[in-house]
Amino acid sequence: MKLDRREFLKLAGLTSAAALGGRVLRPVTASAKEALIRGPYDGGEWVASCCNMCGGQTGILCQVVDGRLVRIKPNDHNPNGFSNVSGDFFDNAAKEGAVICPKGNAGIMALYDPDRLKTPLRRTNPEKGMGVDPRWKAISWEEAYGEIASRLKSLREANEAHKLLWFSEDHSFTHPQGDFCKLYGTPNYNMHSNLCDVGRKASFKILMGDERPLIDALNSKYMLIFGWNPLSATKWAHLPRIITRGIERGARLVIVDPHLSYTASKAQEWVPIRPGTDGALALAMAHVILRDGLQDQAFVDAWVTGFDSFREYVKDKTPKWAQGITTIPAERIERLAREFAATKPAIVDVWSGAHHTNGVYAGWAIAALAAITGNVEKPGTLTLPNAKGSKHIEVEPDGTAKKTLKQIRLDGGKDKWPYFHKSGVYTEIINRILDGKGPYQPKMAVIVFQNLLMSVVGTKNTEEALKKLDFIVVVDTMMSETAQFADIAIPGTTYLERYDLNTHWVTWPVVGLRQPVVKQLFGQPAEYEFVCELGRRLGLKEENGNEVFWQGRMSGARIEDKTRWYEEWLSKELKEGEPKVTLEELKALPGATWVSKKGTKYNKHEDPIPAEKAADAITENNILYSKKKDGTKDKQIGMLKPDGTAVRGFFTPSGKLELHAAKHESKVDAKGRPLKPLPVYEPREWQPSSGYPLFLINWKEASQTHSRTQNNAYLAELKSTDGLRINAETAARLGISDGDLVRIESPYGKVKMKAELTEGIHPEVVGTQHGWGHWAMGRTAKGRGAHTGFLAKTVACPLSGQSLNKEICVNVFKA
């Protein structure tokens, strides 16, 4: 195209007209001038914070030069990247230094990802669906806030606040979101955990009354781990260190998993097992232990209840019986049982291996092995967590909110699920939206950092459910598959641009600070500021008229600046919580981490209850409860031993480890079936058939977090995709060679992947790393690998609401 001077002059002339609006540069301000004088490249500032590339919250140090983050390294002052026991941390952390995992190292690329969302977007195409172009239009923040607030307002004014569904990440700014929901009036606040470990939580809750015991791997002599890949699927960066240290100090590591995971490759023994049968293996091991009298009888007598009925139950659960179920030879089960019982201290644990219909009972059976061998609360065993940290200040909703808060949750809540977790049941929500058989039809959803299409089993159902909602807001740093269904998409912040408090999962109280390392890249609000702004626009108040989203929690003053408002919020949580410091004081602590000096304690169940406390407690059936202000029964605090002394015990109905749960006798699961009082083995529901003869499982590795990091350029370099791992013999039978493109089919869908032949997977099983197969999100993520959610059924464990990510059967064909 040829252009002449006349045309250019015309274009130039336009600029004098008001047509161009404002400009993007402005004269330099005084403060910015100072910023010119910065140190050399390897100078800059180091800011201590916490990683959030996964939910692990490992301590990090971030080097910032000229406003740019240039380096992330481990924060030696934060135990989470070093050890979960205090002695090891206090003695060795400074000498040896902490670690971060590959994902943590790649954090810079999450911040500077070229595909980040940067401005609010509104869809102009009302049609929604996978592959449908939303025809986005950039809109101003004012327009975005205005529209979202007015939608929320109309819902609330119509007394339909409960028809708002809120989905959030489970480790970031959950308190302001949960409080928003409460003050707004919806009981439907949900978060990630029900896709993760609520099955495990239920298993341990039944046995020991605590949801999340931790493994003291460093001091252990035997680690028997079912369905968990802790050396690679690191959620806590200290795990690989303490487990390998444990091995160096003479521990034996045994991994029970259908797949030869990275952890299994470092173990002394890999026990390939048929998926969903771990409960049978655990019961057969218990059978051997009890048959041969290898239990720790003194511990059992003092601290275990239901032993006799359990012994009776496992009487016929012989290794031979288990062999037929698990495919593990009976002699091997005998040997494993004897080794495990004879080597002390020992750990036995399970994580996402419990993602199947027998999962909670299986986890309980596995945990029972710890109980009968006395491997609880001693150095080198499973220990009760002491994760005291910041304190959530409860809000009191007003009358309008209370009306709709009384509504039953869409997923049925704790009345429906005997081990309901506050994270909700995503699969149930999706099924109820789809069939309309819930207590009501929700209208609106706010989805914060949850990519439901990639993370909830049964992708097609998720798609259809999302299509049924009137209005969806998605907050995310990326244009995720789910964000594609938003009516308004809001650019989120990465963990390097915002605050959070992290109560760390080590065995003694530690709180780490996450703080903005650089300013928000696109001037977007941090998520708590977004929620705060909505709260303000809606005029949400507590019952006493207190305006939570305006009021500074420390000063009591009305605070305009939302960052400052949140800083006071955090200060209050710290002050009232275990650390008793302000935010500023926490920032000034080494590594911005508060570490309790008290350190790791064992045998906490034997801790005496102070006499005054015991005297003030309400005692019922030998269990001690604290009192509420009105004198009624509050939380369980202890139990009376036969000799009358009051000790902590375990927070179960009996105060002891329960191999028989009496309370199950009066309860039913979400399907209305009576709960079993014992950790029974029952075949999982979805079994292979002639049409779909193979088990499909999935797992996680250090190279990616769930389905959320696949657009990260560093991580893509580390491992660029994943194929379908298939046993070489099985492949030969199916005429599949290494590298062949294969079609994987289930009754619910089909996907294609490259076959990777291996001896390292059970012959009846195929599997792949979870999280690949993005069809949106960004240019790096898109089109790598395949998403197995298409093959799954939208179903949860009827006890815990755990989504059954690993209960899938498929057929595999050469494509």
Binding site: G13, L20, V24, G97, Y112, P114, T124, W136, E717, A776
Partner: protein, 208 residues
């Protein structure tokens, strides 16, 4: 074709405006010499968003860092089993806020400017760089303008515009790209050689 500095400045401002956000009906009418800009507004706004805002196939990254900066990860001490054979560890490109972004920010400041915080975007965005050149011309600082073109804008704008021309989604902006090319060619801003000469790069040690 001779253009006086303030005329050049005007053209830089116009293009800066077009890349800053989708044009409003008035501007559309002026540019397209028609009167039905109102009808076009949404169409062009969607085109703008799909080209410069929404991640996806059609996105043309409007940042200097994306094209120019490279990063090398020194993994000599890494022993991770996850590094695949053939893993490319040097010269990684295509991310935001690289050294170029910090460098242009510095150049703005040295010349008395900074990015207005109400512009919710990065300093090496095409709109910022174009406006900055315009601002320099406007003040008669031709030398400084040319130097900035040489050091920054000229290193990547041709790559950006070529990408933009190729995009199927690009209709209004294809015309804009062509106009900008024909304007910038005599400015000597399209040589784009600096990129091959190795733009800015930095090395990040993987070890602690």
């Amino acid at each position: 074709m001779f253009l006086r500095p303030e005329e050049k400045a005007g053209i830089y401002f116009l293009f800066s405006r077009l890349f800053r956000e989708a044009p409003d009906p008035g501007l559309i009418n002026e540019i397209l010499e028609r009167t039905d800009g109102t009808g076009k507004e949404e169409e062009i706004a969607v085109e703008y968003a799909s080209l410069f805002v929404v991640p996806g196939e059609c996105r043309v990254s409007p940042y200097e860092s994306f094209y120019c900066d490279s990063l090398t990860v020194d993994t000599s001490t890494a022993d991770s089993p996850y590094f695949q054979a053939g893993c490319r560890l040097g010269g990684m490109k295509g991310f935001l806020y690289g050294v170029s972004a910090a460098a242009v920010e510095k150049a703005y400041r040295e010349n008395g400017f900074e990015v207005d915080p109400r512009f919710y975007d990065l300093p090496d965005h095409i709109a910022c760089e174009l406006e900055f050149v315009g601002r320099l011309y406007e003040r008669g600082r031709d030398e400084a303008a040319r130097a900035f073109i040489h050091r920054h804008l000229g290193r990547w704008v041709s790559l950006f515009l070529t990408e933009l021309e190729k995009q199927k989604r690009s209709i209004f902006y294809k015309r804009a790209a062509r106009k900008l090319i024909s304007f910038l060619t005599p400015e000597g801003a399209l040589e784009g050689k600096a990129v091959e000469k190795g733009g800015m790069s930095e090395c990040v040690p993987a070890k602690r």
